[in-house]
């Protein structure tokens, strides 16, 4: 049987976008609007993403008094799990339909912690989201805003995880999706986006080339590019990681949070969410140290941290198996750097072999299979412990932000290619379908 599926909206407009001074939509009563992170200029909560005065990024401003009046932790407890559980702290009302995003487990990882030299390791297992990465959180919020604004299509520039997340969210919303990726991206990630019906546009260049093109596309066409002109809303989705962690701990904060850094947006939003929780009085004030992990082959923020400078110098040609973190020119890198220094944390550069080792360790010791960014995060846990940023007795939360099925090649990286021997992990040689053959191998 053949099932014919019509494209969601084949006649996509390519008209001029209302990128600045654009349309607005009803916003929650707890949202005051947008504000420039550079100069503080307020803007309406529309499709604006850049300050017209100083070119700085816009972010959402909340009336936390209104949040406090609307809900408290006991009120949240009766709501379904997922990102919209915290809707008063998000910039748009929940859509009528969408994917079931968030509500992922915070699990104790004592065996992995012992291997990494950490006493109290917890894993925020975001490998379990609908498209197997934390990007579903950000895209859920961006898509809700795109629908509220009546946009024609979704788009994104992606290192891979965002491709699948955007494609799936667009499919659920009935919007077409245009996904721009580096042409040499892992095939599994491209196929993932294709499965949801997205138009995947491979670009001959690095992620930063793709991003530059998408900035122009977002500026000139009438599409909602989730990580460009919807970025103020998109970035807010990552805050739900922090809300879920605090709630899972009984509304308190851990000592250390370790996260991967690509653009730097996620770790800075997690920190902002913690500030909000403290200001709301939902958690007791507690100093949380933030540790970021980057792949050594694309580590502009870690390099600046190590050099003691404030300037994040872009990496022109990333060289790493960690494609999901291969952003050479991280827009929020300076903010992530400042966050790590201010909180007594660090930014660690992790080589690919260590990343692959960490992926295998998490899978074998805890049954959690993470993609390469998760391997970097776990490598950063061990590095920060060696540096003394993580101390004995600390409660440490590591954010594992994507599933290992997205980067299957990594699990064999830097391993000998010889067949496994009995009693050892690895791929055994092909054997005849005879018990005697298997028995012979067992005794070899």
């Amino acid at each position: 049987m053949t099932i014919e599926i019509a494209p969601p909206n084949p006649a996509v407009s390519t008209g001029t976008s209302p990128t600045t001074g654009g349309g607005t939509s009803p916003t929650p009563a707890t949202v005051q609007g947008l504000v420039c992170r550079g100069c503080g200029r307020p803007e309406e909560a529309g499709l604006q993403y850049v300050c017209p005065d100083c070119f700085g990024p816009l972010e959402v401003a909340y009336d936390l008094g209104a949040v406090r009046a609307a809900v408290d932790p006991s009120g949240l407890a009766t709501r379904p799990a997922g990102v919209w559980r915290y809707r008063e702290l998000l910039p748009v009302e929940p859509p009528a339909r969408g994917l079931a995003v968030g509500g992922t487990a915070l699990v104790r990882a004592d065996r992995l912690g012992a291997a990494l030299g950490v006493d109290g390791l917890l894993i925020k297992d975001d490998t379990r989201n609908p498209t197997l990465s934390f990007k579903d959180r950000a895209v859920a919020i961006a898509t809700a805003k795109a629908l509220a604004l009546g946009l024609d299509a979704l788009a994104c520039a992606s290192t891979g995880n965002l491709a699948g997340a955007t494609a799936a969210a667009a499919a659920a919303a009935g919007l077409p999706a245009y996904v721009f990726v580096p042409a040499d991206l892992e095939p599994a990630k491209i196929d993932h986006a294709l499965a949801y019906g997205a138009t995947v546009v491979p670009i001959d260049g690095t992620y930063d080339d793709v991003n530059r093109l998408c900035l122009e596309v977002a500026d000139e066409l009438g599409w909602g590019t989730v990580n460009v002109n919807l970025r103020p809303y998109y970035a807010e989705g990552s805050k739900t990681l922090a809300y879920e962690i605090a709630e899972a701990l009984g509304w308190r904060l851990p000592d250390v949070i370790v996260a991967p850094i690509a653009s730097g947006a996620m770790i800075t939003r997690v920190a902002r969410a913690i500030d909000e929780l403290i200001e709301l009085g939902w958690v007791a004030p507690h100093d949380v140290r933030f540790v970021g992990g980057q792949a050594a082959g694309c580590a502009p923020v870690a390099t600046a941290y190590g050099d003691g400078t404030d300037t994040v110098v872009p990496v022109r040609t990333p060289d790493t198996i960690v494609r999901s973190l291969a952003i050479g020119n991280p827009a929020d890198g300076g903010y992530a750097l400042e966050l790590a220094r201010r909180t007594g944390g660090s930014i660690e550069a992790i080589d690919d072999a260590t990343t692959a080792d960490a992926i295998r360790a998490a899978a074998r010791l805890e049954g959690v299979y993470t993609e390469t960014a998760g391997g970097v995060t776990l490598g950063a846990v061990a590095a920060a412990r060696r540096r003394g940023v993580i101390r004995p007795g600390d409660e440490v939360v590591a954010l594992l932000t994507g599933n290992g099925l997205k980067t299957p090649d990594a699990v064999r990286f830097a391993l000998p290619s010889s067949p496994a021997t009995p009693g050892n992990p690895g791929l055994a040689p092909v054997l005849p379908a005879r018990f005697s053959a298997f028995e012979g191998w067992l005794e070899s």
């Binding site: 993403y49 100083c54 965002l162 260049g205 500026d219 020119n329």
Partner: protein, 90 residues
């Protein structure tokens, strides 16, 4: 004259123009000439020290000038300068 592509957010400060021909033999000279013609752009393109604003990425053709010689990057009439917000996230 190099061509300078103006992003929508800056067009109100550049006479509504999308594409401008601007004289100069380096990126710095072109940007200075652009600001001389449209003074409102000055506070948007440069910081107080006169360096390129950290929120602005400048490209010559497809290459970020920080990978070249920043303000001293030579340009010719065959080159296009692109001004974009510093923004990325994968």
């Amino acid at each position: 004259m190099s061509q300078v592509r103006i992003p929508p957010v800056l067009r109100p400060s550049a006479g509504g123009q999308k594409l401008l021909d601007v004289p100069g033999s380096t990126v710095g000279e072109v940007l200075d000439a652009l600001v001389a013609q449209y003074p409102d752009l000055g506070s948007r393109l440069f910081d107080d020290a006169g360096d390129i604003n950290r929120f602005v990425n400048v490209f010559v053709n497809e290459t970020d000038v920080r990978h070249l010689q920043v303000r001293e990057t030579p340009v010719t009439e065959r080159d296009t300068l692109l001004l974009l917000p510093a923004m990325a996230g994968g």
